[in-house]
């Protein structure tokens, strides 16, 4: 299945260079980076929200699997978030003339990455698994409020819309042809499938690590290998 996804992504990458360029951009040919920028941005939003949901489920059920899911979803969102940022920076340089233009959407996305960074900072600073899971879950649900603000409210504020360089109007006024949209949506679907595949692998790895840790920590209960037996030995007392 994974090979199908890889081949589909390769084919779509080629297709991204074959469709006619979108109108309304200063450099229409170089605006093709949108094919990867937008799917990465959408995937980031999906995985960030899913991570918050998993964290909430962990707090409600206290099952470690939800913590593994939250951590995996956060890592995926951080990965695609960094990809969004890098492709956005390239777009910014080519279309707006600067690597960093302090565009409100660009800036709010960077803050979301900072929040994700803080989430991983928390995970690194707690050694106890249960405490780490609980604190990380609480932080993940806590950061949902600023994330929702940064993703959905802040870019739509009238004073922000006025100064934003993001080509939202260009996109909404039909700059993309149907072929363009088809490639864009296909890349998004394939990227999402790849992210879900990596996510599942990550969760499975965490579960196996936990199983291994449990077995090492509870030798008495481990029936397959060497069991810790009670040893009676005479000890001289002087």
């Amino acid at each position: 299945m994974k090979w199908v996804a890889f081949l589909a992504m390769a084919a779509l990458t080629v297709a991204a260079f074959l469709v006619p360029p979108a109108k309304g951009f200063p450099e229409p040919d170089l605006a093709r980076i949108i094919f990867f920028h937008l799917p990465c941005a959408f995937s980031t939003v999906i995985f960030v929200l899913f991570a918050a949901y998993c964290s909430w489920r962990y707090l409600a059920t206290r099952q470690m699997v939800w913590d593994f899911r939250a951590a995996a979803a956060s890592e995926i969102s951080c990965g695609v978030g960094v990809a969004t940022m890098l492709t956005g920076i390239l777009f910014s340089k080519v279309q707006w003339g600067d690597w960093w233009s302090w565009d409100p959407r660009q800036t709010s996305f960077l803050i979301v990455l900072f929040l994700l960074g803080a989430y991983f900072g928390i995970r690194m600073h707690f050694e106890d698994d249960i405490l780490r899971a609980r604190v990380a879950a609480a932080y993940s649900t806590l950061m949902l409020l600023p994330i929702l603000f940064l993703f959905f409210v802040f870019p739509r504020l009238p004073q922000v819309l006025k100064v934003s360089l993001h080509p939202s109007t260009t996109v909404q006024t039909g700059a993309f042809t149907n072929d363009y949209k088809a490639v864009l949506v296909s890349i998004f679907v394939v990227l999402l499938a790849m992210c879900i595949w990596i996510y599942k692998m990550h969760v499975r790895t965490s579960q196996l690590e936990q199983l291994l840790k449990d077995r090492h920590g509870n030798l008495e209960n481990y029936s397959d290998g060497t069991t810790a037996h009670r040893v009676d030995r005479n000890v001289p007392v002087h």
Binding site: F114, F126, Y139, F154
Partner: protein, 227 residues
């Protein structure tokens, strides 16, 4: 809210005030840090005309660091002194949170007003709309108190708490700063532009505060009750 709740919350609040009065070194250190921060920021622009945009940005940077620096010790000190378990046994999580957050709010409001007055005094910037400035600072202090109290509880048992506090709290407060900067800028500029955007940003600060205070006690109860 029933009277046992109020009694519990006020007891936690009084305990915080007494602890603060008993050990003044933390308050003194915070005051000195804030004073030096504001002085350094103002000194960087000595002899130059400071624009309202730059001034409000600098003021909010000072307030943010003052808030995080001052308030993160709320729960960290409990863990360091070994009194956290006693507090857990003695009081319900919601009462602990509200008592601590109330104390943090009083401390932060006083800090914010002192920092702002000192900043405007040193930079020579005139305030056009005092009411807007005060309303924004009080609302922001409540949001800072609510957020940083929760963050303090989160990191209280972690490693390298000092560094972690800043890393965890600052990104959470960025939306608040964005709204606060917009409101204070209008409070400084006053009549040159319409006041409506300033008041709407101030409303945003209070809305953010309400959302934080509506959710934080529940998140606190989850992490506090079982530690």
């Amino acid at each position: 809210m029933s009277s046992p709740w109020i009694a519990e919350i006020s007891a936690v609040f009084r305990k915080e005030v007494k602890s603060e009065l008993r050990n003044k070194s933390a308050t003194y250190a915070s005051f000195m840090l804030n004073a030096v921060t504001v002085f350094t920021l103002a000194f960087a622009f000595f002899g130059r005309k400071l624009t309202s945009e730059a001034a409000t940005g600098m003021l909010w940077a000072a307030l943010l660091f003052a808030g995080v620096g001052t308030l993160t010790r709320v729960f960290v000190s409990e863990e360091e002194q070994g009194t956290a378990d006693l507090l857990r046994l003695w009081s319900r999580p919601h009462a602990v949170y509200w008592g601590k957050a109330l104390f943090a709010f009083v401390l932060m409001t006083a800090t914010a007003l002192v920092v702002a007055l000192l900043f405007f005094l040193l930079t020579g910037i005139q305030i056009a709309v005092w009411q807007l400035l005060c309303m924004t600072l009080v609302g922001a202090s409540a949001a800072l108190a609510g957020t940083v109290t929760l963050v303090s509880a989160l990191i209280a048992r972690g490693k390298n708490r000092g560094t972690l506090a800043g890393v965890v709290a600052l990104p959470l407060l960025v939306p608040l700063v964005a709204l606060g900067v917009s409101a204070v800028r209008v409070a400084v500029e006053g009549g040159t532009n319409s006041l409506a955007p300033g008041w709407s940003s101030c409303g945003g600060v209070w809305l953010y505060t309400l959302l934080v205070l509506a959710t934080a006690p529940y998140q606190f109860a989850v992490i506090w009750g079982e530690q």
